[in-house]
Amino acid sequence: MISFEELKRSFLVSLWFVFLTFPILVIKANPIERTIIWRWENMFFVAIGSFVLSILIRVVNTQKTKRLERRSASDSDTTTSEPLIQVILQNPRYLYPLAGAVTVFALVFPYLFDTYQTNIMTTALMYVVLGLGLNIVVGMAGLLDLGFVAFYAVGAYSYALLNAHFGIGFWMALPIGALFAASFGIILGFPVLRLRGDYLAIVTLGFGEIIRLILENWNEFSQGPSGISNIPRPGMFGIELSLEAAILYIYYIMVALVIVTIFVVNRLQDSRLGRAWIALREDEIACQAMGIDKTKTKLTAFALGATWAGMMGVIFAAKTTFINPASFTFLESAIILSIVVLGGMGSILGVIVGALVLILLPEYLRALSDYRMLAFGAILVVMMIFKPQGIISNVRRTYKYQKQKSGDVQ
């Protein structure tokens, strides 16, 4: 199955990686105590790991080409069977009971598990909404936004500051935060939207960093790096809630918000606007020729994406009761981007699954949590190369012609 030639190649690959990682992984020098630690075991791991991976990729690749050959040999006669997940998604008979079951599970979740688990789940749900928000911008409209976290920060700070200065409560702040974030999206979007894809990405990254740096340095406005503390948790008709009840309450708010978000995004996808986004993503020039207002369409995508981020910002501030600029770094944007990319750009279910996997997995596998960001980086690369459509790809709604059977041709 594996030829000697291939083994030799994999061996060379592993040798190359041993060389590559030698100084950084093996040597650990301390200039103050003047000691050197040689970590030879790391070299061993790299050698074995890269060798196995390289063999694995070779095997997968050969099998892929074999399958393609077989398929082209037997021509497109065999209709490819749809994957199970798509069958479920397209058939209401399976979809509705399943969605109902998931909702019921979400509702009873806090009673099945303890407060700690509920708290983690709330965080995961927040990332679901953030992912769905970014999905509008990146997945549907095809605008790579690397400064998404800026809108999140705008939401969080608008609640924290409005509360500190004017005593505005959570429920008032939620729409205000969303509105602020959306206006920021429009202000930011207006000048940058005529830029080409990759420049747009860098400019949004720049904007995100500018906002964070301003929050960090403008002490009179945002209290600088020390942040704002004692942000009240959401109130329920003026009733004081205990800590546990408050956590429960935020959890249910999040569940409701997730359901609303899924509903809205799902409706948007097949609307006139959603189709305009997808068309714009595919070909801008053709789109303009068809009479779609490019600027307006892109701006709505930006503003809508920002709206969800703003709302999540308010919830984040209310949940942690403390915010500082360190929560809104570029890495946060990168995490949300990984969620969208892993799940599948443009796919709602994919983003939900992506968020749950990426946020819950490191929480439960504590041993892995150190390698979290390493994995996020790797996911972006690996997904782009092997499965750019994500784990659950988005299948556009199409009408299918029934193929005439070869028998009843007149």
Binding site: P23, L195, F330, L380, V381
Partner: protein, 300 residues
């Protein structure tokens, strides 16, 4: 006046380093049209390799000159190796993919490399050994311009002259120019485009590594995160000068360095990074082709 000259030199030093890194961005962009987001990390890895090698050698008791030469060589070799590998792993399979795919892959690579160094070494700042000695003949000027500023200016100038010669007069340089003009045509006339792209990454990474070594010994400390900010600033420099243009990268680097130096010197040092980011945003919005770049014409 003296303060002005001091700021001028510190701006030039910064600018020279930005220019060295910006060259890598601009060369790669010129040839494959990709913003190599991981380039800042290559620079950081160069600095780390130099840090590790020089610390080990100084513990083993090598003379200073040998340490400088070996650390510089090691930084260049390993950075180039990383640059080459990153291209092969993360960019080459995506050469015909939609434009955003390689950019996302590059961002992933950048995050990966940052955390790889973080996990393999440490998140703390590491004191970088002082490799550049204080020269005696610089003594009278030491209050305006330090020895290491001088060394940085001289070394970067030499590197840039070397790069210009490489691109103007060698076979591979000619192939690079041809590939950046028209990749398909270059393939048709028998240029091994894959090899040219690899060479571009190797040269760009080596330049970044030298930049990393110089700035690390100038500032005196490094950590895994230095590549992110330096990368964005160098990218700003590349865009300012006109991405794809080599003299543009140098010009952009110097302008950015001077702007930062004067802005922090005369206005406020709190917003040091904000100046660079704002400059980046403003150029991209108002003159995306940069100072020396050609405007890109989109054909249907």
């Amino acid at each position: 006046m003296e303060y002005f000259i001091e700021l001028l030199f510190s701006g030039l030093t910064r600018g020279a380093i930005y220019a060295l890194i910006a060259l890598g961005y601009t060369m790669v962009y010129g040839i494959i049209g990709l913003i190599n987001f991981a380039h800042g990390e290559i620079y950081m890895i160069g600095a780390f390799t130099a840090f590790i090698v020089s610390t080990v050698l100084s513990i083993l008791g090598f003379p200073l000159l040998a340490i400088i030469v070996l650390a510089g060589l090691a930084a260049a070799v390993w950075s180039s190796a990383y640059g080459y590998t990153v291209e092969k792993l993360a960019y080459k399979p995506l050469r015909h993919a939609p434009r955003l795919s390689p950019l996302i892959s590059a961002i992933g690579m950048s995050i990966f490399l940052q955390n790889y160094v973080l996990l393999a070494q440490t998140s703390d700042f590491q004191p970088f050994p002082e490799l550049i000695p204080e020269f005696d003949f610089m003594e009278p000027f030491v209050h305006i311009v330090g020895s290491s500023d001088m060394v940085i200016l001289v070394v970067t100038t030499l590197m840039m002259v070397g790069l210009t010669l490489l691109i103007k007069f060698t076979r591979i340089g000619k192939a690079m120019r041809a590939t950046s003009q028209d990749r398909k045509m270059a393939m048709l006339v028998g240029i091994n485009v894959d090899r040219v792209i690899s060479a571009t990454f190797i040269v760009g990474s080596a330049l970044a590594a030298v930049g990393g070594l110089l700035i690390a010994s100038h500032i005196g400390q490094i950590n895994f995160f230095i590549g992110f900010i330096a990368g964005i600033k160098a990218f700003t420099a590349a865009v300012l000068g006109g991405i794809g243009s080599i003299p543009g990268a140098v010009l952009g680097g110097v302008i950015l360095g001077l702007t930062e130096s004067f802005a922090t010197g005369y206005v406020s040092s709190d917003y040091e990074d904000v100046f660079a980011f704002s400059l980046l945003v403003l150029i991209l919005i108002f003159k995306p082709s940069g100072l020396l770049g050609k405007a890109e014409i989109q054909k249907v």
